[in-house]
């Protein structure tokens, strides 16, 4: 854990090891097999899951297991200057690593030649969308009833004003010195996503990794609550 100092305050009043206010809701869309809505800080993210289902893209299917495909997409109105619709290089990369981050939690071996589609839609962006998107996607996958052995939870740590801090805001991300987004399996704490951008010493990296893992543990509690709430509603409406 990071030590708490006297000047332990950030621009938005948070402590170094404090995440932004977080809200997750499961099962928010009608047609999708599973869905989730997540708000953290100024981020608003919707995730829908379809599948396992057949896909017409035959070359992506595998004879021995199901596959997962992600589409991370930012709405044109989600950022300050309008973003041109459609995939760009950043979203292509995030789509790839998000699929890889979620894959270890899924038990798709029983669904050969089928595909799980995860659509991550950034409605409004305020820093840390890839981690928040993965966190929400894992809740949506659970909501879809896809066999899973764990939830995947994402959180970033970074370096701002020479301090290692948790869950960077948009401003901190832009003005900061480094950003280390991670995702991990909540129970085994195995890392399924790891990136680092900016400059960090070996010790700073270790500190950031530990802090981000601590952030993941906090975010995971909210994921579990969201699924419990949804399940309770389902039970109630059936009885």
């Amino acid at each position: 854990m990071i030590s708490i100092t006297k000047n332990d305050k950030r621009d938005d009043g948070r402590k170094f090891d404090e995440i932004r206010p977080l809200k997750i809701e499961a099962g928010v869309l009608e047609r999708a097999d599973g869905s989730a809505y997540l708000e953290v800080g100024g981020n608003k993210i919707l995730v829908a899951v379809y599948g396992p289902r057949e896909s017409y893209i035959r070359r992506l299917l595998k004879p021995n297991t199901g596959v997962i495909r992600c589409r991370y997409n930012m709405a044109p109105f989600s950022v300050d200057d309008r973003k041109r619709p459609g995939p760009d290089r950043r979203s292509t990369e995030i789509s790839k690593i998000a699929a890889e981050a979620l894959r270890p939690s899924l038990m798709l071996e029983g669904f050969p030649r089928s595909m799980v589609d995860v659509f991550i839609e950034i409605i409004e962006a305020e820093g840390g969308t890839r981690c928040a998107g993965i966190t929400a996607a894992s809740v949506a996958l659970a909501d879809a009833g896809i066999p899973m052995k764990d939830l995947v939870v994402g959180c970033a740590a970074g370096k701002v004003n020479d301090e290692i801090v948790l869950d960077l805001s948009e401003k901190e991300d832009k003005e900061g010195q480094a950003d280390v987004p991670i995702a991990m399996m909540s129970r085994t704490e195995e890392i399924t996503l790891l990136q680092s951008d900016g400059n960090l010493s070996e010790d700073e990296f270790k500190k950031a990794l530990d802090l981000a893992m601590e952030g993941c543990r906090q975010v995971n509690k909210v994921q579990i609550e969201a699924l419990k709430t949804k399940h309770a509603q389902d039970v109630e409406s059936e009885s």
């Binding site: 990369e93 195995e190 890392i191 996503l193 680092s196 960090l200």
Partner: protein, 262 residues
């Protein structure tokens, strides 16, 4: 679909679990590295780098242009990767694949900390140097991240920019006098894959085809981690990551030395 015969998978995994590799290398050993620089005279900087039989050609072209509105006083760096269909029977022509976009962006993340973009500004808000870095993957034998990073670094080191000035609101390029590209230092990238119970450095083609997880780590000559990317469908433990980071720290100086002597 890419079907690796199960027998190959078992064979390689068993070897690695016994601290051996198909080509006889140690787990933390690179294949032979070859660097040639200045191979394209029409480019401002260029290099051809081989790690094992993977081969990447990099060309750097500068162009004057307008800076981005949110960073008016720094130059522009654009890295683009093309996995040519000639490099592998499975590579297709057409729009860039996810893999080539990831490759270009991870390489870019590392070198962005190296190129002194502030010194590429000619007049704030109006004219800056835009550096186009094109990665041409011509032969794929595993570990493109490290090969491409070495190639870009080698090409950056021999890049010459013509001197540009603003005269009466017009940019004037003097092709006669050139300057070296301003660099803050240098870096190198080490890519590891986890197969079975071990983490190995510099994956070969077969090892890359069966990898559980991949981790690339860029480290500067000043000793800071400047880029990192995990890939692959399986997770890594925290210990795997810290072990890879410490191995990377021990390997980077040799790579940097290779670029220096090229």
């Amino acid at each position: 679909m890419n079907i690796i015969p199960e027998i190959t998978r078992e064979c390689i995994t068993d070897l690695i679990n016994n601290n051996q590799r198909e080509d006889g290398r140690n787990l933390d050993e690179y294949r032979d590295i070859g660097i040639e620089t200045g191979i394209i005279s029409k480019a401002a900087g260029s290099a051809r780098v081989k790690i094992g039989n993977s081969q990447v050609i990099v060309g750097i072209k500068p162009q004057l242009g307008e800076p981005f509105p949110d960073t008016p006083d720094v130059g522009v760096l654009m890295t683009n990767g093309e996995m040519l269909p000639m490099a592998d029977p499975k590579f297709e022509a057409g729009p860039p694949s996810e893999a080539s976009v990831e490759l270009a962006r991870v390489v870019d993340r590392g070198i962005r900390e190296i190129v002194d973009l502030e010194k590429l500004c000619i007049e704030p808000g109006k004219k800056v140097w835009m550096l186009f870095i094109d990665l041409h993957i011509i032969d794929f034998d595993g570990n493109l991240f490290d090969t491409a990073t070495l190639a870009v670094l080698s090409a950056l080191k021999n890049t010459k920019l013509p001197v540009a000035k603003m005269v009466d609101d017009e940019s004037v390029i003097n092709e006669e006098t050139t300057m070296d590209l301003p660099l803050r230092g240098t870096e190198a990238m080490c890519t590891f894959v986890k197969i079975g119970e071990n983490v190995v450095l510099d994956p070969s083609l077969d090892e890359e085809a069966i990898l559980d997880a991949r981790l690339s780590i860029g480290i500067t000559d000043a000793g800071s981690i400047c880029a990192m990317q995990k890939g692959g469908d399986k997770p890594l433990t925290k210990d795997d990551i810290l072990e890879a980071v410490s191995t990377a720290y021990s390997k980077v100086p040799t790579l940097i030395e290779k670029v220096k002597n090229a």
